[in-house]
Every structure is written in structure tokens, then in C-alpha cells.
Symmetry: C2
Subunit: 567 residues, 2 copies
């Protein structure tokens, strides 16, 4: 290698090293399945790996995970998966991803605790390496270093990330709010953020979920006051439902119980599992044998002395609370003047099941306290004033809003402009878009494959547009099967037509409709057979005739399946 060549090689190497790319694989242009990758030519860090709940048009789908084909192709560069907190939309895709990607996973104690119980359910063959970190820990992942800093959120033990690269600091807030009076006393780490800012933050990625809300999100502590007030008015048992992972909320419920001299029982599998895990790790210091009683012992105490914490805040049909509301819970009947507190937000799509649960509880005589009528829930995401605070504190050169639908990202870019970040330094990255950064420039250089992988039962990715379109069709107007048996030699119908329908009309009241339909098909069939038409032609003819006939008669378009048996 001569000196010229050497120089060129050096330059090339340097130019490679002095570029970092940021690509969201989920969570940008949508709420959920959060996942972002940071990479240079040697190393990749994966931030979070969440799931998303299906939209209503995705019939029969259980959940959605990010498309990780880009990561699979670049397996050997992945140095680690870094988790910001333990919510499903940040860790829920891991059971599906771990078998594909062999990399250590970093997270705080509670985050890993939640992940572990999830992995147990899935019976993962080769368990991943889990490495527990604390805020202010700094780890090295290839040529990157990652420092964790405390943030407040609606789950305990959340962190943001400062990623030290050779071109500057990339800061990722994770999900956060600015809670000035957090339950566990752990403030969002203003000082660390200020420190990074003083060193110079090249790029900030910040949570956009609540950007449409003006002002500040109230402190979790304010929920406590409203819970206290509700408890004061309760005449009989109090039943509280919230997300199992909302440890601070559960702590506050138990505090209220202690103050009002009530015992606490827990029902619901995930609630039981999470509370014991959190208590074991020290997140619920008020859980002890004096206040907690087994659920079976509830009946041994006066109604006025009982608090029950349960699952079902989203009106899930099989949850303990839904069963109570429909009077089908084995061990607990709702009685007049029982109080039910729904201390959770409504996940979009669950509005009507939650409303049903509330209506049914009222029908049974319970008093129901919920977000619309009392402030028994606050959001865990920063409202616009907090987002501005974060932007002003971090003072990044470049800004990318994350965690939001397109409109949230747009609103967040406007906030950033308001606090002085130049429009050209702000980038809306939708999933898959690759942002390339140097010390002083940033530009979108293309995109990698990204998208939704649908999970239905054990099937991951085997349900796509064709299957969904068929389900949609079947869901709207059902189906009609026409069973035709043709005698091959004579070219005649062998036996009468059979029409079988499901989800189309109430069969017993529709004899006339089907008789007419049969007549139409028979005439057409005989014509086809006399012309010696081939099977596909016959099928098309039958389908066309029935389609037209049913639409004219009752304005429905069932899926039509002609089945021909040749003898």
C-alpha cells in the first residue's frame, strides 16, 4: 500500500466511522410497536422491541410486531437490545425476535422482571442474556456507549438513553413525562440531561404521544388524592382495576387501603404475578402480611374493610372485572353500593367494551368511578409544555419526534420550531426511513424494509392482505357454497344442487330466496353443460349469476364458492 492508497483508505475508514444512522422500525407514524435502531458501519444498537394491538379491520389478528428483516440481514452487527421500560409496546415483540437475534438485552430491574415472566410464558428455547442496569450506568456496545438516565412514566423504573457516538450524543427520551412529585421520589434526571446538553446533543428523539394536549400532564400523586376522596365515600367493598404494570398506582391504592383500615386482596393472574414480582424487587414497600389477604378470605371480612385489586381495565371479556360485571364471576358477586374504580386510560379500540363493563356494573347497583367523572387516572406521557421543557433542556442540534401517528409527529415538529430549532434540522421519519448523521449534517438517505408482521395464534406473518380481505368479505356478508355434482359421461347434473350458507341470511326464513337461486343456477348450468363449457367457466358463470341475484334481491354480497364434483 503506497502512501496515497493508505491515505485514501484512511479517509474512507474515517468517513465511515464518522457517520451514524438512525432508523425507526416501529412507532413512527403509528402508536405502538416501538423499535429504533442506531448504527454505524460496524455496530447496531436496537432500542426497544414492542408490539401493537391490531386495528379493527385486522380481523382475527392477535397482535402486530415490527418487520425485522433488516436486522436479520445484519445480525452479526447487533451489539445489544436496550430497553427503556417494561410496557408491552416496548418489550412485547421480544419473544418473537429473540429466536431470530442473538444479542444481550439491557434493562432496569423491573423491566427485566416483566420480560422474564413474559419469556416464561413463551417457553423460549434458548433464553437470552439479560443484563440488569441502573440509571447512570454506562455500558459499551461496540463503538457506542450508552448511559441510562431516569425518566418518569406510568410504569416504574423507566429510563431514557444517552448514546455516545464518535460524532456526538444521540439522546432518546423513551416514554416520559415530567412528574415533579413522583411517587418513588425519583425525578426525571434534569441534571444528567443538562450535562449531556452542555457536552452538546447532536440528535434528540422524543416521545410525541401526548403532543396534542396543552399544558402539563398532572403528577401521579394527584391520582392519589382522587383515590383518597373516592375511598372516603365508599360504603362497601372497593374494587380497583388498573394495568398490572402500573406499580405506582398500585402502591397508592394500597396506601389508601391502609389509611382507611381496609385489607387488600388481589385477583387476576397477571395482576398477581406482577405484584409479587414487583414486591420481591422492592417496588412495593407497603405490601406485607398485615395489609394483604388471600382473595379467598375476602368473604371473612366486613365489606367496609375490603379493597380488591383486579385486572380488566380495558373491559377484556375474560378478565375478572368483566366477569363481575356480567355476574358470572365464580367467587365474587357485585352488590349494591360496592364501589368500582377504573384507574386506567382507555386504549383506543376498547371504548365500547369498557363502556359495557361500566354500564353493567351500574346495573348491578355498584358505584363506578372512572376517568370521565373523576380524575382517577393521569397520563404517563408528557403534554406539550413538558415536551418544550425537554427540547429546551436538551438543546439538540437535530430533532426527530418519535412515538406517534403522523399528526403527532407534525405537531411535535411545530413545538420544536417554536422553541427555536431550525425547520431544516427537524426530520419526520416514518418507519423504515434512514437518517444519516455526521457531526454537522443530517439527511434522509433512503429506507429499509419495515412494516407490520401480523401474529394470529402461533402463526407469525402468515396472515397477509389476501387472508384479511377474505375475512373482511366473510365478516360483512358471509358466504354461500354451491355444491354441484356433474356426471362426466352424460354431461348432465348428477344430483340436485345443494346450497349451503353461513353468516349470510337466516336460513329458515329464506327458503324462497334459495329456491329462486337454485332455479337460476340450474338454468345456467344446463346451458353451460350443453355448450360443453369447462369447469372454470362454469364456476365463473355460477358466481356471476348468484352475485347479481343476491345483490338485487337483498343488497348483500356474500362470498360465493361453487364446488364441482365430476363423476
Amino acid at each position: 500500500m503506497n502512501s496515497y492508497q493508505k491515505n485514501k483508505f484512511q479517509k474512507k475508514k474515517n468517513s465511515h466511522e464518522l457517520k451514524v444512522c438512525v432508523t425507526p422500525l416501529g412507532g413512527c407514524g403509528e402508536i405502538g410497536k416501538n423499535m429504533t435502531i442506531i448504527e454505524n458501519s460496524n455496530d447496531i444498537i436496537v432500542i426497544d422491541a414492542g408490539l401493537m394491538f391490531p386495528k379493527e379491520e385486522m380481523l382475527g389478528i392477535d397482535l402486530i410486531i415490527p418487520d425485522i428483516s433488516y436486522l436479520k440481514r445484519n445480525r452479526q452487527r447487533i451489539r445489544g437490545i436496550v430497553l427503556t421500560h417494561g410496557h408491552e409496546d416496548h418489550i412485547g415483540a421480544l419473544p418473537y425476535i429473540i429466536p431470530e437475534i442473538d444479542a444481550p438485552i439491557y434493562g432496569t430491574k423491573l423491566t427485566l422482571g416483566l420480560l422474564e415472566s413474559k419469556l416464561e410464558e413463551f417457553e423460549i428455547k434458548k433464553p437470552p442474556t439479560l443484563i440488569c442496569i441502573k440509571p447512570k450506568d454506562k455500558i459499551t456496545l461496540g463503538s457506542f456507549q450508552v448511559e441510562f438516565f431516569r425518566v418518569s412514566h406510568s410504569i416504574a423504573d423507566g429510563v431514557g438513553l444517552a448514546i455516545f457516538t464518535n460524532i456526538g450524543i444521540i439522546m432518546h427520551t423513551g416514554d416520559f413525562k415530567v412528574d415533579q412529585t413522583p411517587i418513588d421520589g425519583e425525578l426525571i434526571d434534569f441534571h444528567k440531561i443538562a450535562e449531556y446538553s452542555n457536552q452538546g446533543i447532536l440528535l434528540l428523539l422524543s416521545d410525541s404521544t401526548n403532543v396534542e394536549r396543552s399544558g402539563y400532564s398532572p403528577s401521579e400523586k394527584e391520582v392519589g388524592e382522587h383515590l383518597y376522596n373516592a375511598f372516603a365515600e365508599a360504603k362497601k367493598r372497593i374494587i380497583v382495576t388498573t394495568f398490572a404494570s402500573n406499580i405506582h398506582r398500585i402502591k397508592q391504592v394500597i396506601d389508601c387501603a391502609i389509611r382507611y383500615n381496609r385489607k387488600v386482596a388481589i385477583t387476576g393472574m397477571s395482576m398477581n404475578r406482577t405484584i409479587s414480582m414487583a414486591a420481591k424487587h422492592g417496588y412495593l414497600p407497603n405490601v406485607n402480611n398485615k395489609v394483604m389477604i388471600p382473595f379467598e378470605d375476602v368473604r371473612r371480612h366486613l365489606s367496609k374493610r375490603i379493597v380488591i385489586i383486579t385486572t380488566g381495565s380495558q373491559g377484556e371479556p375474560m378478565s375478572a372485572l368483566s366477569r363481575m360485571a356480567t355476574n358470572s364471576h365464580k367467587h365474587l358477586k357485585i352488590e349494591k353500593d360496592d364501589m368500582v374504580i377504573i384507574s386506567a386510560r382507555v386504549i383506543p379500540g376498547n371504548e365500547s367494551s369498557i363502556a359495557n363493563t361500566i354500564n353493567n356494573l351500574f346495573r348491578l347497583g355498584a358505584e363506578v368511578v372512572y376517568e370521565k367523572v373523576s380524575e382517577v387516572h393521569v397520563s404517563g406521557h408528557a403534554s406539550s409544555e413538558e415536551l418544550k421543557l425537554m427540547l429546551n433542556l436538551a438543546r439538540p442540534k437535530f430533532f426527530v419526534p418519535v412515538h406517534g401517528e403522523y399528526r403527532h409527529l407534525v405537531h411535535h415538529t411545530k413545538l420544536a420550531q417554536k422553541v427555536g430549532i431550525p425547520e431544516n434540522n427537524i426530520f419526520i421519519l416514518e418507519n423504515g426511513k434512514k437518517l444519516e448523521l455526521t457531526k454537522d449534517k443530517a439527511r434522509i438517505i433512503g429506507s429499509v424494509s419495515s412494516g407490520m408482521v401480523l401474529v394470529d395464534g402461533k402463526g407469525v406473518g402468515d396472515v397477509g392482505n389476501i387472508v384479511l380481505r377474505d375475512r373482511q368479505h366473510l365478516a360483512n356478508d358471509g358466504m354461500v357454497i354451491v355444491l354441484i355434482s356433474i356426471h362426466k359421461q352424460s354431461g348432465k347434473l348428477n344430483s340436485p344442487l345443494e346450497i349451503i350458507s353461513r353468516g349470510f341470511v337466516y336460513v329458515r326464513g329464506s327458503e324462497e330466496l334459495f329456491t329462486k337461486a337454485k332455479l337460476k343456477i340450474e338454468i345456467a348450468l344446463n346451458e353451460c353443460l350443453s355448450k360443453n363449457n369447462n369447469l372454470p367457466d362454469i364456476k365463473n358463470t355460477v358466481t356471476g349469476i348468484l352475485k347479481k341475484f343476491f345483490y338485487e334481491e337483498i343488497e348483500r354480497r356474500p362470498m360465493i364458492l361453487p364446488l364441482i364434483v365430476e363423476i
Copy 2:
């Protein structure tokens, strides 16, 4: 008849006359399909006849109307149908009910105008008698008299009803709010309500829709201010969407256009029809040739000089706005800096389609203004302080909350108790419950048939639980048909099995699954055939085996349909 008998008869007759019954057939325990009947032994009045939009689990259903079998059985006693206002949830069931019930229909000019254009669409054979009334008109319907009084709502020309019976006044608010500064200057008629109250209101039926909101609903005029502010910031075209029936809103949009020297064009069939009807009847005095231009002429004007009023406020896929948002509108392409104002509430169930529309409009570079980020919409229903005002003004002896889910009705009873109505004088009537009133007593005496009649295409009531359950099943996991052809004489399979699936798995990637499934069935079939099992047994066996097999393999439960052809 001796004097004893005569006396007894007299008494019986009197006791009949001095009783009035009130029964909701819709709108109580649900939002929508509002319909209430008031009756004595001779006469029935029907108040409103609305539709409801289907819940998400009612797959393929277009709309829901009340069960009117009770009215059909008592046809000869019906003296009239009285309409409070022209919204779908108050008049939308009429096209289905008119052919069954021959009674005159009473409503204000706008209400009847909206009804007429609806009836035209339906091509009703024998059009009903429509009788136009004004507020303060008093009509006689059998032994009842009905006086109409003005109320404010999110549609113009709404009225409440004072029904004079021989035991006292029954007052029905219709849908209302207390707008102290209404657009058309027509205040809710406090004085008439006070007058009825002075005469003594026996029973009040009052709108519960917004009972969960504290305080007052803002005046429609406040929307005008926010519209003005939005208009001031618009750089190019302004596209406004709202409900076609919200005449006051449309008037305000046109006022803004005039003030900012913009021309107004209208697109969307229902919007065009409603605006011309309302203008013809004098509800839109600002509609004239100076401000209005045909939609085709939009391109001839500067962007800054244009306002377009359009349909699509609920993200309806075929609406003009949705087509603009997906860049598939024939005549209008959204450009950067166009402003879209969504001046309407989100009807529950439409959240995600509206969110999609907003996101897509932002993607095209439009500025989108909607309820969450600007107060460009206010509710047309009374909040809790207004409801208390109504209760205090009316001072009824008995109270029945209407128009609400069960929880709304419960909250409304609590308000009524707060303002001093005794708990025993308040009744929650769910649909079908019959409240019997005398001069000084009220009690629920039983119930009449009521419920949901599902409309799907031209079919009214032919889709029930069985069909819906099948649609649900098909929607979740699709279906698998097994076509089996058996040779009757030999008792053997005639040809290989065929498996056809739809909405189940992606067939091309699932060859192995189906091969395995066929093998399982063949083994079982041969066993069945050798045992000479009958057809139903064979079908059950095949269904059972496949169910188990598919669940074990991929955790799905498709509908399984074995079809057997015997030769």
C-alpha cells in the same frame, strides 16, 4: 245494568282514563334509535323514530332500528308521530316504520325537509301525511294535546314537547342544550317551560347524553370565533367538513368566508342537498350568488379566495374528504398549506377512520384543524349544569332520564336527587319498560317487546344472533371446507379429498399443513367407512379432528365445513 254495575263500570272507565303510560322503545340504555311512546287506553303518541349505528361486533350490519312490534299490535290507537328534530337518531327509522304504521307525522319545517329528502331516497309507496308545526303550536292527538317549544341543539329548528294529558303535563326535552347566544337568536323557551312548571309538570323526560360533563356546553357562537381565528391563519384553500344537518355551523363558515373575502363551493351529495333545502326554507340567509360558486369553478379562483364545504367528517371511506386525503379525489388535489377544518364530533366507533384521514391530510402537507387541537366544534347536548337548570326550571313531580347508556341515566338520576327530586320519584326506564302514571303515583308495571332490529342491505330483521355468530367466527379465523366424495356401493373414497380454505392461512405457504390435515382425515374416514358410520357421524368426526389439529398446529379455530357427496 243495575246501579252497582254501573258504578263499577264508571269507576273502571275513570280509572282507565286517569292513567297514562310512558314507554321508551329506544334510546334508554343506549345512545341512538330514540323512540318513546305515551299512551292511555285510547290513544298512543309516538315521539321520534331514530336509528342507531351498529356496534363493531355487529359485522356487516348497516344500521339498527327499534323493534316496533308493540306499535304494530296497537296500530289502531296511534294518533301521530311527533318529531323533535331532524337528526338520524330521531328520524332515521321512519322509512322502515312508515310502511307499517299509518299515522300523521308532525315536525318543524327543517325536520320535515330532511325527512322528505330521506323518504325520496327510499321510494316509499304510500307517502305519509306530514304536518308542519312551529314552536308554540298546539295540536290535538286523540285525548292528548301537544305543545311544541323551542330548544337549542346542534341542528336548527329543534323543539321540546309539552304533552297535556288529563292527569297533568308530561314534558319531553328532546335533544337540547342551553345556548345563551344561539346563532339564529332563538333561545330555548325558558318562559314556556316556566309556564308549564307553574301549571305543574307531572313528569319530565330529559336528555342525558352529556351528563358526564361538568359545567356548561359552550355556545355555538364560540365555534365561530375559533373558525375566524383559523381562517385568519389560512395561507391557501380552506376545506371545512361538518355534518350536513348542522345548519348553524354552515352558516358560520359562510359568514367567515364573507368576512375574509373568500368564495364558497360545496361538494358531496348530502351536503349539496341539505344546504339547498335549508337555504330554500330560509335557514341560511347568507347563501346567495355573490358568495357561492359551483364546485367546478374552484380552480378559476386564487387558492386564498376559496372555501370548500364538504362531507366526510367521520372519515367515511367514500366521502369527498377521505378521497382528498388519499389523493384519489377526481377534481381536487390537496396541496401544501391547504387548511382542512374538521368541525364535528367523533361518533364513537369512527375514531380510527378519522385519525387516518387527519394523518393522511398532514402527509399531503395540509394544515389540519380538529377538535383535539382547536375548539372548532362544540356539543349540542346539555352538560350537567344545564341539566340541573332544566330540572329546576321544570320542577317535575316525577323524572325519567332518557337518551343515554345506563351509566348516563344513573348519573342523571343523581343530578335530579341533588336538586331535590325524591329518589322514589325518579325512574330509570330501560327500553321496553312501561311506567304507569296517575295524578300522584308512578310505578313500573311491566314491559313490552323492544330491542334491536338489524338492517343489512334490503333485509330488515333477517340477520339475528346465529348469522352474526357465524360472521364473527368467519371473521376471526376464516373457514375450511373439506370436500369428500364417497362411493356408495363400495363404501370407499371415490376421489382424493379436497380442502378449500378462505381467510384462514396464506395457502401457498401452508402446503405442509394441508397435506398433514388430509392425511389425518383420510385415516379417520377410512375407519368411519369401514365401520359403516352414517353421514352426520362422519361429518362430526372430520370436524372434530380438524378443529383439534389446526388448534394444536397454529392456534386457530376456523369454521370447518365437511361436504360429502355420495355417488
